[in-house]
């Protein structure tokens, strides 16, 4: 799961290549990695790739700050479904 998200961000969403590889704990929202358009695309990707629906009320910083936050959120979500 981590890997798929990291690959999508690195290949599709980054405007310039990062010096180091993107890590699961890198802050995606603090600036420099994802803009608000990138975030929308990432959510669409996640919905398609993992077959979940991300409702607006789940679109909060605590769920999307880093790749590991996203996977924690998704795992919880998939279990509930």
């Amino acid at each position: 799961m981590n890997k798929a998200i990291i690959n999508y961000i690195t290949d599709e969403l980054l405007n310039e290549t990062l010096e180091d590889n993107l890590e699961v704990d890198d802050d995606l929202l603090g600036g420099g990695i994802l803009d608000s358009m990138g975030m929308m695309k990432l959510i669409l990707f996640i919905e398609k790739e993992f077959g979940v629906k991300v409702p607006p009320e789940d679109m909060i910083i605590e769920n999307f700050m880093t790749v590991s936050h996203i996977t924690t959120y998704l795992e919880k979500k998939i279990k509930l479904d």
Binding site: L44, I60, I61
Partner: protein
Amino acid sequence: MIKILPHTINFAASAYPEKEAFIYGKESLTYFELNKKTNKLASYLISHGVQKGDRVGVYLFRSIETPIAIYGIMKAGAVFVPIDPELPIARINFILNDCNINYVVTNPNLRKKHPKIIELKNPLKGFIGADLESDFNSITWPALFNTSIEKYSDVSLNEDDLAYIMYTSGSTGFPKGIMHTHKSGLSYARLSVNLFDIDENDRLASHAALHFDISTLGYLAGPLAKATTIIISEAHTKMASSLAALIEQEKITIWYSVPLAIIQLLQSNALNDKNLDSLRLVLFGGEVFANKYLSQIMNLCPNTHFYNIYGPAEVNQCTSYKVNTPPTNETIVPIGTVWEETEYLILDDKGNLNIDGDYGELAIHSSTMMKGYWNNQTLTNKSTYVAIEGEKEKKYFKTGDLVKKNESGDLVFLGRNDRQVKIRGYRIEIDEIEAALLKHKYIIEAAVVVLHKNVNEKEIMAAIILSKEENISLKEIKAHCYDYLPSYAVPESIEFMPDFPRTGSGKIDRIKIMNIYTNA
């Protein structure tokens, strides 16, 4: 008397030392702390040779250090230059060279960029707020705040000295630097405080990044009113549900942003269950706010006052219009009338005073207007209209925006001068087409561009974003256009996009859209 911008901090610090001046997440600064920390930064800059009038860069994401940077720089007598942290390095380097910047105030979260900037050819001598691994001159924030001030005293400035330079994209492909003085910046702050009755009980949300002129309300008018400014984090600007919660928690009283930020909040539905009673004012500007969203937010906040704000960065704000009732599909929300200390003229298409008509390019003379473009007298002259009044010359800034005066005497924004195109002899307003598209209930956003197919062939193309669940055909959209537009103005091609490319300030990047489909 408050004559220059940093005086506002000194005043607020003596009147309300314990009051929070700025809040960012869990961090905050009282006016006392802000005063002390800005003195330390000013004293550091002076001791490193920064002199009155020198330019100092502010290379920061939204952060609690931003107000320290801008007021510290001004207290040193220097001019602060916001640098958008999302700019490519080459563009940053252009600004450093164009403005001859020796020192840049920054934060460790840009550490990956710092070595790249040092590597390039530019006048940079040091960073403040970086934690570099190299031995390039720099000081960390904790080290700066630990210094004890020995020889700092106010640098003597007068109101015509430069306070800040804001870079904005230029049509030549190079950014142009808009020079504001202490007078123009402080006039803007003072007129805003007067018009919107901002006082020490207000809590302003600062949503825009510093390099975008909308940010000046929070950073400049906030301290003048001794109010509290809540700097919204980068993360909050991207996650609408968190942002909605923040507005409630922080009991925001004044909100000012581009319409897009409000549209994103509406689309997330996150505002619906929030208590927004404290929100007394919503100001929006920078782009036209589509009627359907404006009415939606107005219905959601029935006790809040809404103002359409207009003004290019060159003049700060210059007109405003209070929207009293939620607009319908057919309403045209004016940009209103000029505020105090401001006069306007309407020029014809040859740049002369339009004597018989109320239609043309808006030119503004105001206490809030810029001194000119940095290092570019030619462009400054080109954008200036000189009116002779008696024996005196009066300078007006030519906005490049087309306006007309309506029956009530309010100005109505018609579009950019350069957003009017001629196709097959017909004069077409791009904004009119976009407005027509937006009347369709499934179209969230629309951007119309003109594609140059061959040397003589131009074609109108509309890029649109549909609401997520809806599916409508091209045919239906075209039929909708024919309902609202003359046939020559109906877009020849329509493209669906998941979202639009946007500029650093969140405006739709129409040039990028044009390039995508020109090459396609």
